[in-house]
């Protein structure tokens, strides 16, 4: 029903600046989104991700720069002329209209014939799994159902791109996971270029083709989720996507080899990086406790357990290594040994899993 192959449109955001009064909320951002891509704006509240989305929709205006959708420069076009679809965080279903009228709205604006509207709406509701809901009122729907109606309403007019403003944040955990899958599935099926805004890195990781991490109006890093996770280029991205341990210190020469010495005097030998001040990142799941293997790559450190958190499938330990607290995640299997606080243990990790950031 929805053949988008002819309509796949990319989005280009070029040199865009947005001010709220004196507040510089979007600072010279450049993003290119490929046709058919599921692209996510990820970041904490206030980072500008929603502003950027609304800019694309036409609800904000840029003081400088362009927004190009497909081949069209829409920068000066008002929202009702852009032919893009947006699902709002609160779904924005009109309470005085039935589900049918809600979904039919955009089609009526396009002056499509009544008979056609009827079948288009029906199909759209089927697409989101809400057949037969035509005569219900929004007040009679659950949160998840409302969101699907919002989706149906947006998709039925065949917009060039789809914008989703934190659509999952109002749902409970289980529903969120289900909807995540459904939305992704829908997007793949339709092939429509989608921009998704969220503050939840798990969602970003699961759903996106690529992610732009935003902070304070700038793009910290842009790329595929695994790349961002594995190779963050700054501390913010590293900390935002998953937890990470950071060691600040310096790489120095040591008899022809490079050695890292942290502020807390933790030493790591055989570093493959350049000299100078830097930061080392290592994810909690990359550590072993009391692993007696001896390998060249394995670095060993001595430490003491100071905290323990039982997260169900993961045991998270805080370990004191030379006064530096290191977070370590171990998978909790049925008969795992559970360490106790005050236990003295040995930490080890593969040196290749270290990531370096210049200071």
């Amino acid at each position: 029903m929805y053949d988008n192959s002819n309509f796949q449109t990319g989005v280009n955001i070029k040199d865009v600046d947005v001010f709220y009064g004196k507040n510089h909320v979007i600072k010279n951002i450049n993003i290119d989104i490929k046709p058919g891509e599921f692209f996510t704006f990820l970041g904490p509240s206030g980072c500008g991700k929603t502003t950027l989305l609304r800019l694309i929709a036409g609800f904000e205006s840029a003081s400088k720069g362009k927004v190009i959708i497909g081949e069209n420069d829409v920068t000066t076009l008002p929202p009702w002329k852009r032919n893009i679809g947006m699902v709002f965080q609160n779904y924005a279903l009109w309470p005085h209209m039935s589900v049918f009228k809600n979904v039919a709205f955009g089609l009526e604006q396009k002056k499509i014939e009544k008979i056609e509207i009827f079948s288009l709406v029906k199909n759209s509701l089927e697409l989101v799994g809400l057949e037969g809901f035509e005569n219900r009122r929004p007040s009679q729907l659950s949160g998840g159902q409302q969101q699907r109606v919002a989706l149906a309403r947006t998709l039925v007019v065949k917009p060039m791109i789809l914008l989703l403003d934190e659509p999952l944040s109002n749902l409970d955990a289980k529903l969120r996971i289900q909807m995540r899958k459904d939305i992704l599935h829908l997007q793949r099926k339709l092939g429509i270029t989608t921009i998704f805004v969220t503050h939840d890195q798990e969602e970003a990781n699961v759903m996106s083709d690529r992610v732009a991490v935003l902070n304070n109006g700038i793009v910290e890093q842009l790329g595929r989720p695994e790349d961002l996770y594995n190779n963050p280029i700054n501390l913010f991205t590293a900390n935002f996507l998953g937890t990470t341990n950071t060691l600040e210190g310096e790489v120095v020469s040591n008899n022809g080899k490079l050695k890292f010495i942290s502020k807390e005097n933790i030493e790591i030998n055989n570093i493959k990086f350049k000299t100078g001040k830097c930061k080392i990142l290592l994810r909690p799941q990359n550590f072993y406790i009391n692993n007696n293997e001896i390998k060249d790559e394995l670095v060993k450190l001595k430490g003491k357990i100071v905290e323990k958190e039982f997260l169900g499938n993961i045991l998270r330990y805080t370990i004191n290594v030379s006064e530096k607290k290191i977070l370590v995640d171990l998978i909790h299997e049925d008969n795992s040994l559970i360490y106790k606080i005050e236990d003295e243990i040995e930490l080890s990790f593969d040196i290749n899993k270290l990531r370096f950031l210049e200071s």
Binding site: N90, A92, G106
Partner: protein, 561 residues
């Protein structure tokens, strides 16, 4: 959660209930009763109603009252719509001015404004003389029912304005943005989304206007319109007598129509509480206007404001004018009228006395009734609330007739004077008529106070009296003050019940005095001066009421829920 029902609370409940029954229920019931009694045999009958509906004049009066009420709602909406739309959707400096100026008609006693309107918009009034001279035609603004419609819509349009502004501001902006996203804009957006969503607020305001116009006596009376229900009833009773059954029939019809209108409005609003689905947060960000749009907007607004402020302008001119006859403006100006009314100052004194007592009793009852309804579990307490609020639907005329009927046989203790001609009965009529407003204010104030504040005081051993005195009432004080001032200010210009109950000049309040003054050639000036004073009293009162509420709101540091 409720507090214990102490004996003193139960006693209070009983006393308040008695008060309401004696001074509201019984008079209204007596009106209904008399309407159903055959004047000859004294038997129960519906023949009076049949007489009413067989008489073409009465049916005409009935339809005219309906017609005038509905047209007033429509005209008032026409004034209110552009004003509310401009101020809520666009950014321009006139906004606050508009919203506060749009409130001013409410503080004009409607009947006296009608006189001024006639001078400005009558067949040979300022505007028509001008139109005739320069364009060769006249517009019958004030002819017949048109005059009533015009005067009433000007007076009551703020109800609709205030409600519309509130509901427009309450529409979540995503409601509009999502529509824009789907291709809607401008008028289309307004028609399909904004208007329907603001309907509940609009209906609330519109039904209130309908009610008040339908029941109004003063304006048609001063405009010499007698083929409407309220003036017909009044004229029949004063011409034919308190025994004329038709007056009662008309009063009954007035009450029934009012109650029905209130009920229908409630039905229409049921299930349309859109506030649940919306998170509020105001409508779309206000758009800036370009130059041409600004000119147009200001033009429309100034035009409407001029019309709406016309009664005040006319009244002021009349109060300072010497002779104003068949001319654009008065021939000359003088301060004599003001001098005259200050020399005979018992009207102003009476008004202050009556309205203060009435307002005081109102807030006393308001606090006690809301406390009993919200905090206790005394059986039947909701009826206090219902009965007190029902006073809104009882036209002043009906209440006045009811009082005359019920209390005329009884004399004041130790005196020869009939109870119905004692000035205090006017105070009671004012009290009952204004009670709904005071009650709503007290209700709103009390619901914001957490019961835990009182319970924690109880734990320390405080009695109910101390709790009321030291905790509840101080926390409610903003609402109480607002209720007092509203009661006072609106009682100061009440005419419908007053005119039935005033028996001599010494006891007459301001509103009656204005009416009396307008009965002589030389009295228009002083009457207008009194009218201006009435406007000032009500205006100042309302202003202070608002200021007090705002200051108290900002003083509330604790989040009380």
């Amino acid at each position: 959660m409720k507090l214990r029902n102490t004996v003193s609370l139960k006693l209070t409940f009983f006393l308040i209930a008695s008060f309401l029954i004696i001074f509201l229920v019984i008079p209204v019931v007596s009106v209904f009763y008399t309407a159903f009694i055959d004047p000859y045999s004294g038997n129960f009958t519906i023949v009076n109603f049949l007489d009413f509906f067989k008489n073409r004049l009465f049916i005409e009066s009935f339809f005219n009252s309906f017609y005038v009420a509905i047209m007033s709602v429509i005209l008032a909406s026409t004034f209110a719509l552009p004003l509310s739309y401009f101020t809520t959707r666009f950014q321009f400096r006139g906004s606050v001015l508009i919203q506060s100026l749009g409130f001013i008609p409410l503080i004009m006693p409607p009947f006296v404004g009608a006189v001024a309107l006639k001078l400005l918009f009558g067949t040979n009034g300022t505007v028509n003389l001008f139109l005739n001279k320069w364009m060769g035609f006249k517009v019958p603004f004030m002819e017949g029912l048109n005059g009533v419609i015009f005067a009433e819509s000007i007076h009551y349009f703020p109800f609709i304005l205030i409600n519309l502004v509130a509901s427009l501001n309450n529409i979540d902006k995503t409601m509009e943005e999502s529509a824009q996203n789907l291709g809607s804009s401008g008028l289309n957006l307004f028609r399909k989304i904004v208007l329907p969503l603001s309907m509940p607020g609009y209906v609330a305001g519109a039904s209130l206007v309908f009610l008040k116009v339908f029941d109004d006596l003063g304006t048609p009376l001063l405009l010499d319109i007698n083929n409407m229900l309220a003036p017909q009833a009044y004229l029949r009773i004063s011409a034919i007598g308190i025994d004329d059954p038709m007056g009662y029939v008309m009063a009954v019809i007035l009450v029934v129509t009012s109650l029905s209108a209130m009920w229908i409005a409630k039905l229409a609003l049921a299930g349309k509480d859109y506030s649940m689905l919306q998170k509020g947060g105001g409508g779309l960000a206000k758009r800036k206007l370009n130059f041409m749009e600004k000119i147009m907007a200001y033009g429309v607004i100034i035009f409407i404001l001029f019309i709406v402020l016309a009664p005040h302008i006319g009244l002021t001119l009349l109060s300072f004018g010497t002779i104003w006859s068949f001319s654009y403006f008065p021939d000359a100006y003088t301060l004599n009228h003001y001098k005259e009314i200050f020399e005979t100052s018992n009207f102003i004194k009476n008004t202050f006395l009556y309205c203060s007592i009435a307002a005081f009793i109102d807030i006393l009852l308001g606090v006690l009734i809301s406390y009993i309804v919200i905090r206790t579990s005394i059986r039947g307490r909701e009826f206090l609330d219902y009965i007190a609020m029902a006073a809104l639907a009882i036209p002043g005329l009906a209440l006045g007739i009811g009082y005359l009927r019920t209390f005329y046989q009884y004399n004041l203790p130790f005196s020869n004077q009939p109870l119905a001609s004692w000035w205090f009965i006017i105070v009671i009529a004012l009290t009952i008529r204004r009670l709904p407003y005071a009650l709503r204010a007290c209700n709103a104030a009390l619901t914001q106070i957490s019961i835990y504040l009182e319970e924690s005081a109880e734990v320390f051993g405080a009695s109910r009296y101390i709790i009321l005195k030291k905790i509840v009432i101080p926390l409610m004080i903003a609402g109480i003050l607002a209720g007092f001032i509203t009661s006072f200010a609106t009682a100061a210009v009440e005419l419908s019940a007053t005119i039935m109950l005033v028996s001599n000049e010494i006891d007459a309040p301001l509103s009656y005095a204005i009416y009396a003054y307008m009965q002589t050639a030389a009295g228009r000036g002083p009457g207008a001066a009194l009218g201006v004073i009435a406007v000032v009293i009500v205006g100042v009162g309302t202003y202070f009421s608002q200021r007090i509420i705002e200051r108290k709101q900002s003083e509330k540091l604790i989040n009380l829920n």
